[in-house]
Symmetry: C2
Subunit: 313 residues, 2 copies
Amino acid sequence: MTRDVIVRDVGPRDGLQLVKAVVPTETKLDWIRADVAAGVPEIEVCSFVPAHIIPQFADAVDVATEAAKIPDLTASALTPNLKGAQIGFTTGISKINYVMSVSETHNQKNVRRTRAESLEGFRAIVAARDADPNLKGVKIGIGLATSLGCTLEGNVPESETLSLLEQVLEAGADEVMLPDTVGYAHPTQVRSLFSKAIPICGDVPVWTHFHDTRGLGIANALAALETGCIRFDASLAGLGGCPFAPGATGNIALEDLVFLLESEGLKTGVDLEALAVARAIVEAALPDERKFGMILKAGLPKGFVPASQIAAE
Amino acid sequence: MTRDVIVRDVGPRDGLQLVKAVVPTETKLDWIRADVAAGVPEIEVCSFVPAHIIPQFADAVDVATEAAKIPDLTASALTPNLKGAQIGFTTGISKINYVMSVSETHNQKNVRRTRAESLEGFRAIVAARDADPNLKGVKIGIGLATSLGCTLEGNVPESETLSLLEQVLEAGADEVMLPDTVGYAHPTQVRSLFSKAIPICGDVPVWTHFHDTRGLGIANALAALETGCIRFDASLAGLGGCPFAPGATGNIALEDLVFLLESEGLKTGVDLEALAVARAIVEAALPDERKFGMILKAGLPKGFVPASQIAAE
């Protein structure tokens, strides 16, 4: 089917990175397969980081290798450095997302490098991909963490975000994410940033990534939608760490995002009733984590016809 | 201070009507006083219904009488009929809100009358107020339940809502609410309805009232804001019954609504840190109810200056 908007479940990566219980590889793959069965077109399946830093991703190679084989799925993975990217390249995955922060302080805390060093690291990954003809189809994306605010620096000037955006485009980014990493953004701010970033990016896709730390995540997604953005990260059940730790709470719930988009008449390709199967897997695997997301508990409105179920004329 | 937007805490009424634990009168008043101390300008303090139907409101006269004495507060109360209004008139409260549904089926289920009978009932309340010179300052509002959808009838045509709106204006409504009673609405629908309703109402204030049953409540408030609406119902901690029963879940959380509005540069007059005192009262009084609302748990963004704290030039 033709999709008007693309949603990505970042739950297996962002949703799990602060979860203490290590989810078995097969359960992660069950979740990923259930997502795909429901029509989710893209999933961030893991992070290539050393197992001693995040034990949850000790099985990243296995998860990515299996996910890369699933038809109708764009499987992406996160990496903070060249080494992680090189491991990722061996798995057959079609997209590697690098991460650095707009906030210098946050970048130093998060990846222990200056922004200049991070940019160099990104260029090295692009060069490594370009040097290997077997990796021709692999896309290298980059997320500019704290694009909309930082718990350490507070407000992040829009000009800083746009300036770094231009640098990463020059460095060869195939895709860009402008995350509200810590849930500081409000709709007017989102509209302003995305309405400027999208034209700057031209043919390079721009993704939103909203954490719902302060309750405005879905409203921010709506604001981004109004600027013409059509790519949205979210996490099934709104997973993403402890809701009491600023900077570490969950993404907007994938299911509520899909309900927003389908209500607005946009085809996501996702069947909410089928997505409930994926949510049940997550609920069974993580009984002690707080789950968010309302639509699958409340049920679809009586008589509601999702845009994705309306036949094209 | 001058407010750009008016928020109303409907928690003591809508938030409590399905709560099984009867909250003591003094606790309700502590909550109301803490709201007012935080700058909440209006509160729906109770519902005038027979105690055998909703035991929670057996103390409605006491609560309303005390609330009516609080300086800087517009205390309103709900009533489904003339008898309730007449009880309300004795309390000194300055606003009585009547309720009927746009959906005929819902109206019959909710208040056991036809819409025509409900309209007659509304006219009788307006006439009773008009007949008593002592009630000159008392406003009679009306909420058109299911304005944006109905669990029994499904979609409610916008033309039906607008037609009933014109009838209640003719009947003398001083204020109107267009609630999304069951959490079916989406932003485009909200924008469409409010952009038509506000001009029809002219000088008569129009209120939003969003339940967050399906996760779109704050996005819907944003959509209404974009149409020029400046009056918003919400409920502290998002109280409002069981989140698993369609049609009975909580309102949008007052604190997250205030954060949205203040972030957007609009003065609500509400101090979020002071509102935490009111929330603590609710949390202590209702330990077994599910509480929503993110901002007071996450804390304000670093360096955030609420619009209400910016001095007028």
